[in-house]
């Protein structure tokens, strides 16, 4: 950014203050850097700088075979690794026209929704912490821990799960796991009320979030927002409903949408998604069909020449994979991800203009970006 603008006033010339927030700052959620131009504490303009966590996952993938890539997708949105796995595997299955057994699709649904709750737990905690309510953070992490335990039992890892295989699952669910999932659903339902008790009707919380970062539906679509930031502005777009994948076509759930398009509505949308996710998990866990967990997958995975785009609804928004196969080699010719955080982050500059420094952190939290996914 160039030198700050000097405004010539009647009595004094005033100077804009350039404030560099990040990449090392407690509330830029990783390594986001925001260069703010301030007039007092009001943000005149902002420059969002990304790229501090770039690891070249897309290029790396072109040199890995199809199964090895699953492990790389874990490292994108590292708070929702299972969702990334599912998205990638389904894209390859689409490219190969593979049939996935029903049992595997049900387990995928359960994992995706558990992952959504875990990711939203992290969001509600850090978002509240950014606005100063520190207790919600620890409450939310307490429940996230339960989900991590479930994942650990399912696939042995707590953060980067590597939990999918092309055509199905690597392992069947452990015995008794489904009961534990249902138990978790019962616990979680009461805990969501606990978060709401601390925040939803809190006067300070309302003052800090209502009317902050308002964006209307058409503008949100134009910016390419997806997921809760888009639904908070009243656009009922959810990949799970519009283009069902896994077993979502057999599930009953509602897509919550907001009306005002401000930080508070995005908050309400995500809290309602907690409840809807629990609904889906209950249905899927109670209705897991018997059967094989892997479809008819060839020994050597080598999709036919062609290209495909497939999107799923990650906790952050629409997570899409675009893969080109040349049909000859055992690795993709081109591998491209459409990460929801990257696209949602485009909205940040529009949202924070005219707000105060304190709102900047509230808005970064409200968009719920994970820098691992933004930079890849």
């Amino acid at each position: 950014m160039d030198t700050p603008v000097i405004h010539h006033g009647a009595m004094f010339d005033t100077n804009e203050l350039v404030l560099n927030m990040g990449p090392q700052h407690p509330s830029t959620h990783g390594v986001l850097r925001v260069v703010l131009r301030l007039d007092g504490e009001k943000v005149v303009d902002a420059d969002v700088v990304i790229g501090y966590l770039h690891r070249g996952i897309e290029k790396l993938s072109e040199n890995r075979n199809w199964t090895q890539i699953i492990l790389l997708t874990d490292r994108m949105d590292y708070v929702a690794a299972a969702t990334n796995n599912v998205g990638y595997c389904e894209t390859v299955e689409k490219l190969m026209s593979l049939e996935v057994p029903r049992r595997a699709r049900y387990v995928r649904t359960i994992l995706c929704e558990l992952q959504r709750i875990a990711s939203h737990c992290l969001w509600v905690g850090t978002h509240a912490m950014d606005i100063g309510a520190m207790t919600v953070f620890l409450y939310a992490f307490r429940e996230r821990e339960l989900i991590l335990d479930l994942f650990e039992e399912m696939c042995g890892a707590r953060l980067t799960y590597n939990s999918m295989r092309i055509g199905g699952l690597p392992l069947d669910i452990p015995p008794g796991w489904d009961k534990k999932v249902l138990e978790f659903c019962t616990i979680m339902a009461t805990k969501i009320d606990e978060y709401e008790e601390l925040l939803t009707h809190n006067r300070i919380w309302l003052e800090r979030t209502k009317g902050i970062g308002v964006i209307d539906g058409p503008a949100a679509v134009a910016l390419g927002l997806s997921g809760p930031p888009l639904r908070g502005s009243g656009v009922p777009r959810d990949v799970r409903k519009d283009e069902p994948y896994a077993a979502y076509d057999e599930m009953e759930f509602d897509v919550p949408i907001g009306t005002a398009g401000d930080t508070y509505d995005r908050y309400l949308v995500r809290l309602e998604e907690f409840r809807q996710s629990l609904r889906v998990i209950r249905q899927a866990t109670e209705g897991i069909p018997e059967g094989p967990i892997v479809g008819k997958v060839p020994r050597l995975i080598k999709p036919p020449a062609g290209e495909t785009y497939h999107a799923i609804e990650s906790p952050k928004g629409e997570l899409g994979y675009f893969i080109v196969s040349d049909g000859k080699s055992t690795n993709p010719y081109r591998f491209r991800v459409r990460p929801p955080s990257f696209c949602n982050l485009q909205g940040l500059r529009t949202l924070i203009k005219g707000h105060l420094v304190a709102d900047v952190v509230a808005l970064i939290g409200s968009l719920d970006v994970v820098l691992g996914e933004v930079d890849r």
Binding site: L19, H25, P26, I131, L356, A358
Partner: protein, 340 residues
Amino acid sequence: MIDTLVIPLLKIVIVLNATLVSVTYMVLLERKVIAWAQSRLGPMRVGPYGILQPVADAVKLMIKEDITPVRADRWVFTIAPIISMVPALIVYAVIPFGPEVKLFGRQVTLYITDINVGLLYIVSVASVGVYGIILAGYASNSKYPLLASLRASAQLISYEVAVTLTLVSVIMMAGSLSMVSIVRAQQSSHMWYAFVQPLAFLIFFIGGLAETNRAPFDLPEAEQELTGGFHTEYSGMRFALFFLAEYANMIVVSSVATTLFLGGWLRPFPNVAFLSFLDFIPSWTWFLVKSFVFLYIFIWVRATLPRYRYDQLMRLGWKVLIPLAIANLVVTGIIKVMLL
């Protein structure tokens, strides 16, 4: 000689040490209470249940490297933490922990001094404390501390107005500026002023939260926005001074609130002879218990509430608290003239 020099000096030494020890344990108390609110344990490693944690903290802070940024204003940078610590400590000179007691065959007062303008002294000393924060922000020569110190000084100046106005209504009730007389006036009127002046009490409490930079008014040190606020560039013992000053100020606000609104060292219902068996508890215990309740509420609020935004804080101060305090003052004056 003994009465004019030795005993006051002894009292000063005792009060200062007691304050510093309770400030360090205040930090531990806060960590424990917040941990309990957040369903975790808090410090557990140093000593049983972590009770020696303050010692470990003190050692750590003292042996840490003391960094002065190259482009800082060296002198101002050094004196800023001292300026913020000293007012917090010298306020204790006029806080009455108890009445006169017989100790080793000698009449001793449980306060260092009782000056004619005690309350005014507290207010004026507290008003000097703001320099510590402003100068820290300025001397660091860094943007985050500067923003924080601007926030802090605006906040302190505006809430001081509301708090001082509530103090005036208490002074009108008691008819004196001396802390001891205010307690005695509560005894003779058979009523704690918290019940006579509930609005003033509430405004004083909110203003106290704001003046000590505590949640939900902790904007000057908002970690999530300003990376620590005015003490971002401080380290080691100088940082510790800021840290301790905040807690010392909390204790000051609690003690003043106890003295003005909760009857100071008086036991509950001091004029009811039926309850006189309570007198076996020393008067200063009541004072400490009441102050402790206050401090607990301070911590409790921090564990519960989100943080206000700068403009909302100013709006609350100027458009809600100050008009209310003035209205309360006028009503108090009218009632005082009409009825008494």
